[in-house]
């Protein structure tokens, strides 16, 4: 993968160093205020709903990319933590009798992390294809529980009428409020993932991806590193799940199912694994195909499958990789 290394970036002019964070902050402000400045435009409400869903799945894809892009762990069971978080947020609000954000979001993170700890302990020792296969199979266990434990989850009917959260007495249930909550949480998660990528911990994960044996020889406990990454990624996916539960006010076993795991994988790979922007763009593109394009053509899933195949065959670095290649060619 040809990416500008950190060293080459930091030696560049000051403008180049500060441009990405500044653009990111500007984009977040624009997103946060979207319902205001688009209010007069036609279809503003619909657009902000689509944007909200894109951002929910961007959080999900960012969390998965910690595994796929950084640590080189191709998990095909990430929906277990997304769905686990979604159910936890929904059930906590109903059973604990409080809609306080800290409680319901906390429940989502704790449940997702606990699930990730169990599944991770059984799977992180496997590598490559085996890891993919095992995460897929064990995540399906979470699906089975969600599907069959009807008293708790509503079974195949799903969990309808999820209560939206309250932040210190401020009701977040109006559409604009929930949209803004999603934008803020998305910003925080993106910042966390960006920070992980730059930290010593993140470099160690990349080391595990590139050469696990050498990392072990250097004295790193690679199994623990991988398990910690798995739990961290699972917790962030739990956050995405909670956002999804509040956005749709509905949780179904599909949120835990293979389809959701595959969707996350497709988002990360189409966008560009191991980059901050990639999973976000990938989530946007996939949601566009699934939500907007699907109302125009009946075979949107086929389009998605073909797009994915083309990216795996011809552009393994995803949209971001293609953009970087085009950019370097243009500048030359």
């Amino acid at each position: 993968m040809t990416r500008p290394t950190k060293a080459s970036l930091s030696r560049g002019p000051r403008v180049r160093r500060w441009a990405p964070p500044f653009a990111g902050a500007a984009a977040l402000v624009a997103l946060f205020t979207f319902p205001d400045w688009s209010a007069s435009m036609e279809g503003s409400r619909y657009a902000s709903t689509i944007l909200r869903d894109m951002l929910v799945f961007a959080v999900y894809a960012l969390s998965l990319d910690v595994l796929i892009g950084r640590a080189g762990m191709p998990s095909l069971g990430h929906a277990a933590f997304f769905g686990g978080g979604a159910y936890a947020a929904a059930i906590a609000a109903e059973r604990l009798g409080t809609d306080e954000l800290a409680v319901t979001l906390g429940a989502a993170v704790v449940v997702a992390a606990a699930l990730a700890l169990v599944i991770g302990a059984l799977t992180v020792r496997a590598a490559g294809i085996f890891f993919l296969m095992l995460t897929l199979a064990f995540a399906q266990m979470a699906f089975a529980i969600a599907f069959q434990w009807t008293d708790l989850t509503g079974g195949s009917n799903g969990f309808a009428g999820v209560r939206r959260p309250v932040l210190l007495g401020l009701d977040l249930s109006p559409p604009d409020s929930i949209y803004r909550l999603v934008v803020v949480v998305f910003g925080i998660v993106a910042l966390v993932v960006w920070w992980i990528a730059r930290s010593e911990y993140g470099r160690a994960l990349v080391g595990v991806r590139e050469n696990e044996r050498r990392m072990r020889a250097l004295g790193y406990d690679t199994t623990r590193l991988k398990l910690s990454a798995f739990v961290l990624a699972g917790s962030l996916a739990g956050v995405a799940g909670a956002l999804s539960a509040w956005s749709f006010r509905f949780v179904s076993p599909n949120d835990v199912g293979l389809g959701t795991s595959v969707t996350g994988f497709v988002m990360v790979l189409i966008g560009g694994a191991g980059t901050l922007l990639g999973p976000i763009l990938g989530a946007g593109l996939v949601l566009y195909i699934e939500r907007v394009l699907s109302s125009a053509i009946p075979y949107s899933q086929t389009v998605l499958g073909i797009v994915f195949i083309v990216f795996v065959l011809a552009a393994r670095q995803g949209l971001v990789g293609v953009a970087v290649q085009v950019w370097t060619r243009v500048r030359r």
Partner: protein
């Protein structure tokens, strides 16, 4: 549980295991040869069932479907391997990802062509009744499934052990690179292997259709169960597929009766225990987890 119920459930378990064997044999064959876990295996299975539905609607002949569906799936495999997988030869993870894309396309196209409602396929004539076994009625079709899988296992075992193509496949599983160095056209061998694996998935789809129905989502169930079977039994060998199927089939049926809410969780618990105790599966040679 009464003795009659135990017997009935045991037969159900064995016939489900028999079906799982047909399904997992194809997955295991492809993996053994190409080091690719074919995640489109469930979609191939589903396509087999829908092709059978079409054939039975057109001709009224279930037995024609048993022949035609595997042939169709074999052709699909013969197209997909050279067209897609061969381009990424040696990059196993990318090949696995490709099969995800293939599965997305196939399941969506099935929905477009045949609709997204659950369908049924009638039992074939001669196997549409029940017979009396130890005082309770038991559907003959399920007995047929067991017999069919046993015969298939014997045939596969014979092909694998006693024929030239079987020798090539065994050699390819051991060391495909060396085989190529010896002058064997491995491109063709890989294409044929992938086609045979796909045909077996299609065959499982036909055989399953009358007993388990034809519906969206059947692909995921089939994929998960065949993965569990190969993880439990061991990847890449026929013996592994048969042992895994013999264990998982009855475990699933008895789990459903004894702990209905956690039947599937029980299967995964078995899988977890086996992975911890024997990381290569019961009969496998490839270590799945360290």
């Amino acid at each position: 549980m009464s003795p009659e119920l135990v017997l009935q459930q045991a037969l159900n378990g064995i016939s489900f295991g028999a079906l799982l064997f047909i399904l997992a044999a194809g997955l295991s064959l492809i993996f053994g040869m190409m080091d690719v876990v074919n995640l489109a295996h469930g979609a191939f299975y589903m396509l087999g069932a829908y092709v059978a539905l079409q054939v039975v609607q057109a001709t009224g002949q279930f037995w024609a479907a048993v022949v035609i569906a595997p042939v169709v799936l074999g052709l699909v495999g013969l197209v997909i391997e050279p067209l897609l997988l061969r381009r990424l030869r040696g990059r196993h993870l990318e090949q696995v990802l490709l099969t995800i894309g293939v599965a997305l396309v196939i399941t969506d196209l099935i929905g477009l062509v045949w609709g997204r409602e659950a369908r049924t396929l009638p039992f074939p004539p001669g196997f549409d009744r029940s017979i009396d076994i130890a005082g309770s009625a038991y559907p003959t079709y399920r007995l047929f499934v067991i017999a069919f899988a046993v015969v298939l296992a014997v045939v596969l075992y014979y092909l694998h052990r006693r024929t030239a193509i079987g020798a090539l496949i065994r050699a390819g599983v051991d060391d495909a690179e060396m085989l190529a160095a010896l002058g064997v056209d491995t491109d063709r061998l890989f294409a044929v292997t992938f086609a045979v694996g796909a045909a077996l998935a299609g065959l499982a789809g036909v055989i399953a259709a009358p007993a388990f129905g034809v519906r969206p989502g059947m692909d995921v169930d089939a994929l998960i169960f065949s993965l569990i079977v190969v993880v439990v039994g061991g990847l890449g060998t026929l013996g592994g597929a048969s042992v895994g199927a013999a264990l998982v089939g009855p475990a699933e049926t008895f789990g459903k009766v004894l702990v209905p809410q956690f039947a599937l969780a029980l299967i995964f618990a078995i899988m977890a225990v086996i992975l911890l105790a024997r990381p290569s599966g019961l009969l496998g040679r490839i270590r799945i987890s360290r």
